[in-house]
Amino acid sequence: MATGTEPPTRHRAATGVRSAGRASVAARHLRTDRWWLSPAATAAGLLAFVAYSTWRAFANADYYAAPYVSPFYSPCLAENCVPMRGGPNWEVFGSWWGLSPALLILVFPLGFRLTCYYYRKAYYRGFWASPPACAVAEPHRTYTGETRLPLVLQNLHRYFFYAALPVAGILTYDTVLTFRNADYAWGHAGLGTLLFLVNIALIWAYTLSCHSCRHIVGGRLRHFSKHPVRYRLWTWTGRLNARHMLLAWSSLISVALCDLYVYLLATGTFDDPRFF
């Protein structure tokens, strides 16, 4: 390394931390802490959600209990939807769609979360062990990251962000509808209303804390000083962005809870406590 400028050109059979020339340590890693806990918990949490949401999305039942509509089924875009008075029944797909209408709309939040910079980290680490944890060798022989198909499509995150905005808008509308009672009279609220309020706040916070959003509102600018309003927006989204992971998890849990709540009401397992 006399001058530090010779190009690195080593190609040998062994790769990674056991490559020739590197310090010969047999162990894949020497971490002594419980490094596996975090990826394991992440994987378990994500799996639980996937299992629950798959069941609910394909169930095609018990997603409406006036005045609440499950966020998994909103907006409802096929004719086979339960009629929801004043609710998000927009039958743009007509009658030919025979499967669960949830599948039509869940594509968008799913895509948004699947390409989200936080979730990418979470599932690359948790499911794909690439890497399982910092300085713990990954099990793969080769790695090309997000340089080619399909993972290069992660760059489409911002389109899913654009799509996530109207979805969040509709869920906001649904939340407004929860200020009715089971007879569609306005000016009432129940425990579900509260749950929906918390959920929509988290959904918005998660959506707006998105890295793409931060880039679009201001990050792409070169001179903040020439765009004071966008600079301020960038600062705000930046503050939210620092909590993106927290918001990703809490909004994931809240959306599942809202759905579960509607399910419990719809199946009559539980009665919505009314406040007024």
Binding site: M1, A2, T3, G4, T5
Partner: protein, 643 residues
């Protein structure tokens, strides 16, 4: 005969800190093929530790600032011992050097109108320090490093070779400057730390930019590289050192935990409002304002506090006195039993600024105390005490060209060069010094190297015998002690550090310094019996054994010069001669190697200060420093004054 590889260059720069890189950039731009040698990795030089800022009278914050004011502050800080032409050039050229950094990509903190922000600092009349939070040195070094890379990219585009015109030899140590038969510089002898292999770089011009000597002291803010290599290389090549008795003890180093004792707490803590208190809670600095500064500093806490907001109508708080004054004051408080639990005093910002302002303005300090001492400086006071920080003395150089005295082809810039700062350096003047004189050294080294017959390179032949001798010297520690008990380099180093700290430290006494000289002589004898284990590949014991030669030489210079100067001035405080003596003002002490391998001193007189520069000061002020005959007539235009 050992085979030693040779390479040919026009200019070799020893050291890749601020001065070395600035010199290399300038030499390369002047057309010289330039090699830079550094002991560490490229980009790790001690310059990164500089925190406060770069002093330059750009007048971005205070419109009245100009080079004359900066010159005045520098001379006052140095107690008029400065090589005044250097101080003048420095004050004049510093702004250009800072602006130039911006064109190379540096990002300083800004004023509201978008110019480079400038902050207050001890001894500077106006806010003058260009800064980036409290990591200015890192910004400066990284900028120069990236400019170096930029030039290499340019060369690559033109010639297909990144390193043909400018090359960095990282992790190499120079052990000798080699001369030809006529006494001109011919190259350097060095070893590669990683492999232990020897290398000779032949070049007609060598720029020393190796920094300071702090590692000769026990409590120091300096890194391991600061072993006085350039000082020793110059001495051994026959160039004298000047002002070596002046060593700056920074007033605020960490005192706890022991492993970080000496690490710097930046002066910006005080510039931004931090105050010093003793164990009684008293702001003791008000008791320590010396007469020469009485009318420039606040007398009450209220006035001092008002100054931060309204510097035009109030005088600055005495916490911002020059470093030597503050260091001595802290020393006195601790000795009087009013120190903090771990032997320092309290430096408090927590009660003076809101927590988030502290974190924003002093991020690395916040980080440093949190990580290293587990102290939250937004909630509690820091404990600080003096630490060896900087050597004002160094290789005697020509003010204009940075050429050393008596060795053609040898140049020196930065901390390794003496003269610029006189008896005491102001904070912020170091980084500007690196840039101003680094550039000058590089430029003049390149000009000298290319001033040979017909505009070609100067020819100078490295003598084979000198290479042999240098190789033998470098290998000596492996030879074993020759029948005596072997000595451990780490032990000798610790003993030297203890000796320098205890006997030639911040307060000096004649008997102690004489004892220090005895101990250094004994250490030098023992150093000849050093034996190191292992082989030449990255062997720290061997490296230290070779560095010890330099530290012992430099330590002796400091002790001898300090013993000789029977007065107190700036970074040199004699308990037995507590006053400043005007008769000593024009006296410079030069150190040279004597025939016996030790150090011999020579007294010289400085050139009288030019009259137009003298005219920048009030006569009453000058009278405090200069002898009657130096003041001369009051008539303007008299060119030559004094002896």
């Amino acid at each position: 005969m050992t085979h030693v590889e040779r390479e040919q260059w026009d200019v070799v720069v020893v050291g890749a800190g601020g001065a070395g890189l600035r010199a290399a950039i300038e030499a390369r731009r002047a057309g010289a093929r330039t090699a830079v040698i550094c002991k560490s990795l490229f980009g790790k030089a001690h310059t990164v530790m500089a925190e406060g800022g770069i002093a330059a009278s750009m007048a971005n914050v205070h419109p009245q600032d100009d080079w004359k004011t900066h010159f005045r502050d520098t001379m006052r800080g140095g107690k008029f011992l400065n090589q005044w032409r250097m101080a003048e050039l420095h004050a004049q050229e510093a702004p250009e050097r800072v602006w130039e950094l911006e064109t190379w990509g540096a990002l300083f903190d800004r004023t509201p109108d978008g110019r480079i922000s400038q902050r207050n600092f001890g001894g500077h009349e106006y806010p003058r320090l260009a800064h980036v939070g409290d990591r200015t040195g890192l910004e400066l070094l990284r900028t120069l490093q990236q400019k170096t890379v930029g030039l290499q990219q340019e060369d690559h585009r033109e010639t297909g070779d990144h390193e043909g015109r400018l090359k960095v030899f990282q992790e190499f140590t120079v052990t000798r400057v080699l001369k030809d038969a006529d006494g001109k510089v011919a190259g350097v002898f060095c070893y590669e730390r990683e492999t232990g292999r020897f290398l000779v770089l032949e070049a007609p011009a060598v720029v020393l930019a190796t920094g300071g000597i702090g590692k000769s002291f026990k409590v120091t803010s300096n890194s391991w590289e600061y072993t006085g290599d350039g000082h020793a290389l110059a001495l051994l090549a026959g160039a004298p050192l000047v002002n070596m008795e002046f060593v700056q003890f920074h007033p605020t180093g960490m005192v706890w935990p022991p492993s970080v004792k000496g690490i710097l707490v930046t002066e910006s803590v005080r510039g931004d409002g931090g105050v010093l208190r003793n164990s009684d809670g008293r702001r003791f600095m008000f008791d320590y304002v010396p007469d020469v500064f009485k009318d420039k500093y606040a007398e009450t806490e209220e006035e001092g506090d008002r100054w931060y907001e309204d510097p035009d109508h109030n005088r600055r708080p005495p916490e911002l006195l020059p470093r030597d004054e503050v260091a001595r004051a802290i020393n006195s408080e601790v000795k009087a039993g009013r120190g903090s639990p771990h032997g320092g005093v309290f430096l408090d910002v927590s009660t003076r600024m809101p927590a988030d302002a502290i974190r924003r303005r002093l991020p690395s300090m916040y980080h440093q105390f949190k990580e290293l001492a587990d102290v939250d400086i937004t909630a509690e006071a820091m404990e600080v005490g003096p630490t060896c920080h900087y050597v004002m003395g160094g290789v005697a150089v020509d003010s204009e060209t940075a050429a050393t005295v008596g060795v053609p082809g040898l140049f020196a810039a930065g901390e390794v060069a003496g003269g610029m700062h006189g008896s005491n350096r102001l904070g912020g003047n170091s980084l500007s010094d690196l840039l101003v004189f680094g550039r000058r050294a590089g430029l003049h080294a390149a000009r000298y190297a290319m001033s040979g017959a017909g505009g070609g390179a100067v020819t100078a032949r490295v003598e084979a015998a000198d290479v042999e001798a240098a190789a033998a010297e470098a290998l000596a520690p492996f030879a074993g002690p020759d029948g005596h008990a072997p000595e451990n380099p780490y032990t000798l180093h610790q003993e030297l550090q203890q000796t320098m700290n205890d006997l030639v430290g911040i307060i000096r006494r004649e008997g102690e310094m004489a004892e220090a000289l005895d101990r250094i002589a004994a250490l030098r004898a023992r150093a000849r019996r050093i034996s190191v284990e292992g082989h030449r590949q990255f062997n720290p014991g061997w490296h230290l054994a070779l560095d010890l030669r330099n530290m012992l030489l430099v330590g002796e210079c400091v002790a001898r010069a300090a013993l000789e100067r029977t007065e107190s001035r700036g970074g040199h405080t004699r308990e037995d001669y507590p006053g400043m003596d005007r008769a000593w003002r024009p006296v410079n002490l030069l150190c040279r190697t004597s025939d016996g391998g030790g150090i011999a001193l020579e007294r010289t007189l400085t050139k009288p200060i030019r009259s137009d520069l003298l005219a920048l000061f009030e006569r009453e002020e000058l009278a405090k420093y200069l002898a009657e005959e130096e003041l001369g007539s009051e008539e303007p235009g008299s060119e030559e004054l004094g002896s």
